[in-house]
Amino acid sequence: MDLNKFREMFQGCELAGNKILIKSRMHDVIKFVTENYPYDILKEITAIHNPDGRIELIYNLYSTVDEETLLISILLDGNEAESVSDIFDSARADENEIFDLFGVKFSGNDDLKRLYMPEDWEGHPLRKDYVQDDTRLAWNDDKNNV
Amino acid sequence: MNYLYFLYIEFLQKHNIPQLFGDITFYFIPFCIIAAALLVVVIVLVLVERKFLGFFTQRKGPNRVGWWGLLQTIADALKLLCKENITPDKADKFLFNLAPILVFVPMFAALGVIPYSSEFTFINTSTNVILYLILAAFPVLSIFLAGWASNNKYSLFGAARCIAQVLSYELPMTFVILSVAVLASSLNLTEITLAQTSKYGAFGWFALPCILGFVIMFICMLAELNRCPFDLPEAESELICGYNTEYSGMRFAIFYLSEYAMMFANAMFLAILFLGGYLSPFGKYFFSAGPFVYFEQAFWLFLKAAVLIFIMIWIRAALPRLAIYDLLKFSWVILLPLSIINLFAAVLIKFGGAIWAA
């Protein structure tokens, strides 16, 4: 795809490897891409907690028409990101998973909830700063007595 | 009945017991016979169904307990007997315990209505078809009771489905029975049986003039028995176990066994209405007189019922379940008009000649 046009619209995006790295405005980028190019599936959103402490999101877009993959990546500054669930419904599921495992809050996605972890679980296990504390897994009769 | 009665009175008189005692106690005998026979029949039926389902699905079926798995059902019943009866905390305990009893009692009575042979009809009234219909529909009430009292949403679903289903299938069934009543000019099961007598044996059966009615009745019976493909009230993949989800131990066993007893009773009822009841399909009996002929008559009735039950098992192995709205639509849109047509056909067959002559 034509990166120059892309550069004009979204300041500071660059090509890193096989993916486009953008600084911000993920929602607008995805919207722009889906409106102008035939990318119709958001295959997955991958979150990575980088060694520098920032969370990287990789959006894997795919076009069933010309069978092309487009990876768009963003480095988050905090634990806030823009939701793209109004463009792709499947993002709702991915964002929920990322919220559960990385603690990233997606503005615009209302039904974020703990998915795999218990509702009252502290911490997000796939973060690198997560402390694995096995004592929490021990069966506590007082707490679990239903 | 008279035959058995005289045997009994004769036996009492030999031992110098007054006849009044015999008159009073006589009516307990049939129920003892029914109760004993019923247990055997149900135990065999459960085994046969499991065995045949096994064969249909290329399995062996139960084959561990006893020779050929013959004792499997008894083992299962014993296991259920030993299990704890659990009553849910929030259930309506009185109704919850009442429901299994209410499902069993009318079933016993329904079996008493059936003429097993020309002499063995324990309850013989002039309109025992109606009596049978009432008794056969009674378990539905107890199913609803069970579903309601369980305080379980799945049970309630099963109960509600059962009511809807039986209500809509009772109507075409009644019309079909009416057409049989017209053909036989009677509402008595023995008289209906005898009306099918012919020297050509099976050609006198009402299944021939009323083949449409026979098929409708068979379908309605499947629906009333909650058998596949109408097993919605206990649809395993949807409602877990339907109305008996919360039942355990002997109470569950009663529901389970009564289902099979009902199946047997209904198969016999259908055989009486359309397949000549205890009449031999060859026009004459192998035994000419004596008590053996009664046994032969009962044998023919059981054989006819067994064939119908085999078809029911076959259908269960072959068909998926209907959707609830299709089920209701099928009854009201297809079966009901057809059964009315069947009634008119029966009237024409019976009185066509007379109308033509007039």
Binding site: I41, K43 | S237, L319, P320, R321
Partner: protein
């Protein structure tokens, strides 16, 4: 005055037809579903977290468990990641072995689905028939790998040992088409089955794409999307993809039946090659101290339940820095929220069954 009241029904996690431990929180009006909220996570084993603490060879046996009905696909994905990273080209014989096993695995998975789907619809017999045929395939897998479901047969750079018992495969592919004909006779033409599947659970093309549905479910909605065409593993194989335009449960059923038939043809091609080929010559990657070079690696494959993919970021360590699985069922489960609303309870079971959801894949 009548007031309309609704009530909540907890379908699962211990329900006979949720294929594992799916919990659907349904809001019902009578038997009509107003809203559906899937709740997953009852089988979560932390596959992604595990990977971060294990070396690649330690992790390899566990990935079969992501989808216990199609284990080969996930070990193939992990092997492919490592092979791509180490730049190893697979010999043709290894490719043929893998394609044959993958397609057999796809057939066995679809067979189980046919049985389970019909079970959801209330028919008992097809379940046993399908299991009978699946058993042949599982026996073969057991013969070559020692395991019926968790194979651990693919290793980095090849397969664990040379393939054998090819006559078994020959028997399977000679018997199966006839058996599938039998299924079609008792299922496809059954009026009750048709009533319960045709026009039920319609999944429009746009809705499917928007919800990330892939695989057979997407192809039954009329989208020609099959990763096997661009897959280097399937290079040289004659593949035909099944695209149906029915969009309903029946189309999804039909697509799977037809796909089984196509898979049999692919297996036959691989078998033909393997019968002619000589002994196995492969260059395995030494798994001891295996370190992937720094970078992102991505592999995807057409699994029986949709696109499965694996993403690995490595910083040159023994273990991946981050490993992410994408599984088809996860998106199918989330689709239920939209697909089930407005359906009757017994249709809902059939529709959910037709999507071929398997819970270990959802929970990972």
């Amino acid at each position: 005055m009548m007031t309309k009241t609704t009530f909540k029904l907890n379908l699962g996690p211990q329900h006979p037809s949720t294929h594992g431990v799916l919990r659907l929180l349904l809001e019902l009006d009578g038997e009509k579903i107003i809203s559906c909220e899937p709740d997953v996570g009852y089988l979560h084993r932390g596959m992604e977290k595990m990977a971060e603490q294990m070396s690649y060879i330690q992790y390899l046996p566990t990935v079969d468990r992501i989808d216990y009905l199609a284990g080969f696909f996930y070990s193939e994905l992990l092997c492919r990641i490592v092979e791509n990273a180490m730049e190893v080209e697979l010999p043709d014989k290894v490719r043929a072995i893998r394609v044959m096993l993958l397609e057999l695995n796809r057939i066995s998975s679809h067979l189980l689905w046919v049985g389970a789907f019909l079970m959801d619809l209330g028919a008992v017999s097809p379940f046993f028939y399908a299991f009978r045929e699946r058993e042949m395939i599982l026996r073969y897998f057991e013969k070559i790998s020692g395991q019926r479901m968790m194979y651990n047969y693919f290793v980095f750079g090849g397969v664990r040992h040379d393939i054998g018992f090819l006559e078994d495969v020959e028997e399977i592919i000679s018997i199966l088409p006839g058996k599938i004909d039998d299924y079609e006779k008792i299922i496809t033409e059954n009026p009750i089955f048709i009533r319960r599947t045709v026009e039920k659970g319609i999944l429009q093309k746009e809705m499917a794409l928007n919800n990330g549905i892939t695989g057979v479910n997407l192809r039954a909605s009329g989208v020609d999307f099959d990763l096997r065409f661009e897959d280097s593993l399937y290079r040289g194989f004659d593949i035909k993809t099944i695209v149906l335009d029915g969009k309903d449960s029946f189309a999804r059923y039909k697509a799977r039946i037809l796909e089984m038939r196509e898979s049999i043809k692919i297996v036959a091609q691989a078998l033909e090659y393997l019968k002619k080929s000589g002994s196995l010559e492969q260059r395995l990657i030494n798994p001891i101290n295996l370190k992937l070079p720094e970078g992102d690696y991505f592999a995807d494959i057409e699994a029986p339940r949709g696109t499965a993919s694996c993403f690995v970021r490595s910083y040159g360590d023994k273990n991946p820095y981050r490993l992410k699985w994408r599984t088809g069922s996860y998106y199918s489960v989330n689709l239920l929220r939209k697909l089930l609303a407005g359906e009757y309870l017994n249709d809902a079971i059939a529709i959910a069954g037709s999507l071929d959801i398997i819970l270990p894949e959802v929970d990972k």
